[in-house]
């Protein structure tokens, strides 16, 4: 194989500009190929905007033709630009470090700034994309008006805000030991911040102390400024120096911490140095055993095979227990999964009960009970309809399933183990919410209600797991499974009394076709005890979904990834 002439390099000057451009194009492509980012950046805010348009209508609020959506649009912009910058920067930096991409780059002439310009620039471009799409949609569809007098202040707010979010993302990415921690920390904090900054509520007021807490973080001043800049009834040019100052402080802090903690090598467990393996020593010739043991050595080897271990096939229960333990351990080691399936629903429960105007809803049921049922449903959905199928698809993608197929483990044993682990997680959520509800919000449920609730939750968990597995068989890669799962769950939640929204009747009708609504309704009815009849219909629908989806999933189950 001749190398000589063909591989002789030609000399060129590498300009900083060309380097930055290459990195930027590359990073944009990288984000584009990560479908999750597209969901968070474009689909979520647009979905939110459309749903809000659907629910709130777009009536004129004043004689001058100003419409309701004039006040919802800035929130969607804030959401889109925020989710386009903070999580992607954090995740991409941590992922590049974890996969060794940063280590490779460290050995090339690319300076650190070149890499960061690419990554952060790409996130900013995506934010710009989210901004343009949202504005275009709201102007065309909802006749939202842009105010020329605040445009400058708005541009400054947008640039400063998204840069600050990117800097905070960089800090999170640099500090997180693994990509999955970065993912959980960034998306988790983004969701929490969105809630406490009032991005998901329109019209509802948060407790004053929560407002104060949120004002310390950059998202609330950012979203508030945008809202004011869109508000046609406010005078002035939309400048909010105090808010901008808070954002600027975060920009500086994020940059300092992010650059200070940035490292090119992956974090190692425990020891600071590289992994030390026990050296494998070959047997030195000449220093071997004495002559008499030559024969002995061979016979010892023979005896090892003669002294057979007792043969006993593990019982189904032992297999199930082993698989469940392994699946639970796996879940516990993915902080993102734990956050979204356990911490987030419990936190949301607390928040949503707090923002309810009274102790009871308009239909007279206790708010804590209904919200509790909703959040247990959401948590179960995340654990069993999103995390479970994503885990199975990941095992398929990485060849784990293929390996497993060569062992005596039966497929139902594996899948049942996963389902049990998901169910255990839902029980954790249930317990946390019930305890918190009883302690803080006067939630009282009788023993019969609790028992019936457990039955509903069990059947519901089975139906969600079955649907999740069906999802695995329909969608090619683990990443896509997670994304589709989250999108379906999020969308369906609006139709299923999970996010409490008084929508039109047709939404309830659509929701009643799917298991999520029946799990929520069934749980709420069970907990009400004597005040409500046994939710037979909900149980029936859940059981039908569990059977049908489960049978179909088993039929279509694939052990290997679809051939590329």
């Amino acid at each position: 194989m001749g190398v000589g002439g063909a591989l002789r390099g030609s000399a060129v000057r590498v300009s900083a500009a060309s380097m930055a451009r290459d990195q930027l194009v590359h990073a944009v492509l990288a984000l584009w190929r990560t479908q999750v980012v597209l969901v968070f950046t474009f689909v979520m805010p647009l979905l939110w905007l459309l749903l809000l348009g659907l629910l709130a209508g777009n009536d004129a609020v004043g004689p001058d033709g100003v419409r309701v959506m004039q006040f919802a649009t800035p929130t969607a912009i804030a959401m889109g630009t925020f989710f386009a910058t903070l999580p992607p920067v954090a995740i991409s930096v941590a992922e590049a470090r974890e996969t060794g991409v940063l280590k490779r780059l460290h050995g090339t002439p690319l300076p650190a700034w070149g890499y960061l310009v690419g990554r952060i620039g790409a996130a900013l471009l995506f934010a710009l994309g989210a901004l343009l799409v949202t504005v275009l949609l709201s102007v065309l569809l909802y006749e939202v008006r842009l105010r020329t007098e605040t445009l400058l202040a708005m541009a400054v707010t947008l640039v400063l805000g998204t840069t600050a979010f990117s800097a905070v993302g960089l800090a999170i990415g640099s500090l997180s030991r693994t990509a999955s921690i970065a993912e959980a920390a960034s998306i988790g904090s983004a969701v929490v911040l969105s809630f406490i900054s009032g991005l998901f509520f329109v019209g509802a007021t948060l407790p004053a102390w929560l407002d104060t807490v949120a004002s310390v973080f950059p998202l609330k001043p950012y979203a508030d400024a945008l809202r004011d800049q869109f508000n046609p009834y406010l005078p002035g040019r939309g400048w909010d120096p105090a808010g901008l100052a808070v954002i600027a402080v975060w920009l500086v802090a994020g940059t300092v911490i992010g650059l200070g903690a940035l490292r090119w090598e992956r974090y190692r467990s425990r020891s600071a140095g590289p992994v030390q393996r026990q050296p494998v020593r070959p047997t030195p010739p000449g220093s071997s055993a004495p002559p008499s043991s030559l024969e002995a050595r061979r016979t010892t080897d023979g005896q090892a095979t003669r002294g057979r271990p007792r043969v006993r096939r593990p019982s189904a229960l032992a297999v199930l227990a082993g698989q469940s333990r392994a699946a639970l351990r796996g879940a516990a080691r993915r902080p993102g999964d734990v956050f979204f399936s356990v911490v987030m629903p419990v936190g949301l429960f607390s928040l949503l009960v707090t923002v309810q105007p009274g102790d009871t809803l308009t239909d007279g049921r206790p708010a804590a009970l209904v919200v509790g049922a909703s959040m247990v449903t959401w948590g179960a959905g995340v654990a069993l309809f999103m995390n479970l199928p994503e885990g199975v698809a990941r095992a398929r993608d990485t060849g784990l399933l293929k390996r497993m197929r060569g062992t005596p483990l039966p497929l139902p044993g594996y899948l049942a183990g996963r389902t049990v682990a998901g169910f255990v997680l839902t029980l954790v959520i249930l317990t946390a919410i019930l305890l918190l509800g009883a302690a803080a919000y006067g939630l009282r449920i009788g023993p019969a209600g609790l028992l019936l609730g457990l039955v509903v939750l069990l059947v519901g968990a089975l139906s969600l797991a079955a649907c999740g597995l069906l999802l695995t068989t329909l969608v090619p890669s683990a990443r896509a499974v997670g994304t589709v799962g989250l999108a379906v769950l999020f969308l369906l939640s609006f139709f299923s009394d999970v996010f409490l929204i008084d929508g039109p009747d047709w939404m309830a009708t659509v929701g009643s076709l799917f298991p999520l609504k029946h799990l929520q309704n069934g749980l709420a009815a069970a907990w009400e005890g004597a005040a409500a009849p046994v939710p037979w219909l909900d149980l029936l629908v859940l059981a039908v979904w569990a059977t049908a989806a489960g049978a179909l999933a088993i039929r279509r189950f694939r052990w290997q990834p679809a051939t590329p």
Partner: protein, 312 residues
């Protein structure tokens, strides 16, 4: 001028001394192999030379630079093929080669490079679809894309099939012909024997031998005798052979400085018993034998405390 000069290099992680006073020189245009068991400190040594890590003490010069300064001019003249550097899985071979190509002032044509490492059929394939060997070849391509004067290869052919391995060897030989300096670490002794002008054997943070493969094997004065025994003849019945035969696969191997005496004893014993000695072989020690002797004698002092495998 020497391409690499290392003097009294030391590096510890906490209490663990990984590199313990290493000195060696690699001449420009030389292919130099660093051999040694896992955990010997090879990777740490090479990573210090690449500028990835800082030494605790000692002096290091690569192409006249101190790698620890991580100067851009230095990085533009070296190429690194690491064991554990990752790829962005969603990109194609061609995209990654082109991206990295843009970082160097001297650039190798992308298609010719991809052809050379044997990935032409995969140039538009995403990295996630590549096999382990194909990834390593991409790794090699990325290390070469800047037309480096000095190339670091960390176990470059691990996971290659035999034909890919010979291709890679041909590539490294081609590099030597163009005057590039290559420092490679490897577990494969035939690879070192085939490619390297000089070999250094590293054990427990120290270099225990340096020389050409021929010099290292010449240092072994003994000769290797191997044979099998007919079925039904236990090894315990072998006569006194001067040194101990060691089980080696289905047969026995011993190394001796007195081959005539051993052969005499062995054949006399066989004639007496009217048996034949199948697969009898007498050969000069290979680099592998030399290596095992070096690694073995360095490790022998710990042998007594270690649990010997196979005797549980």
């Amino acid at each position: 001028m020497a391409a690499v000069e290392v003097h009294e290099l030391r590096k510890s992680y906490g209490d663990l001394v990984v590199v313990n006073g290493v000195s060696f020189t690699v001449e420009a245009g030389e292919v130099f192999a660093l051999l040694g068991p896992n955990g010997a400190g090879k990777t740490t040594t090479v990573e210090i030379l690449e500028g990835h890590r800082r030494a605790d003490s000692g002096t290091v010069s690569v192409l006249g630079f101190d790698p620890a300064t991580h100067a851009r001019a230095f990085l533009e003249r070296i190429g690194i093929v690491l064991q554990d550097a990752g790829f962005e899985e969603d990109f194609t071979v061609l995209e990654l080669v082109n991206l990295q190509r843009g970082l160097y002032p001297r650039r190798v044509p992308a298609d010719a490079l991809i052809e050379t490492v044997g990935l032409t059929g995969k140039r538009k394939a995403r990295v996630r679809t590549l096999s382990g060997g194909q990834r390593r070849r991409l790794d090699l391509a990325l290390g070469l894309v800047g037309d480096p004067e000095m190339l670091f290869l960390d176990e470059p052919t691990t996971g290659f099939d035999p034909s890919a391995r010979h291709r890679a060897w041909g590539l490294v030989e081609g590099l030597r012909d163009t005057g590039k300096t290559v420092l490679l670490t490897t577990h494969y002794l035939d690879e070192a024997e085939h490619l390297a002008d000089r070999v250094a054997v590293m054990v427990e943070g120290r270099i225990v031998a340096v020389g050409t493969p021929a010099e290292l094997t010449a240092g072994q004065r003994s000769v290797v005798i191997s044979f099998r025994l007919p079925r039904g003849t236990p090894a315990a019945e072998l006569p006194e052979l001067g040194s101990m035969p060691v089980a080696d696969g289905a047969g026995w191997t011993l190394s001796t400085a007195e081959p005539a005496a051993v052969l005499h004893a062995l054949s006399g014993w066989a004639l007496d018993r009217r048996i034949e000695i199948p697969a009898l072989e007498v050969r000069r020690p290979s680099l592998e034998d030399a290596y095992l002797a070096l690694v073995g004698s360095a490790a022998v002092e710990r042998e007594d405390t270690a649990v010997r495998p196979g005797r549980a």
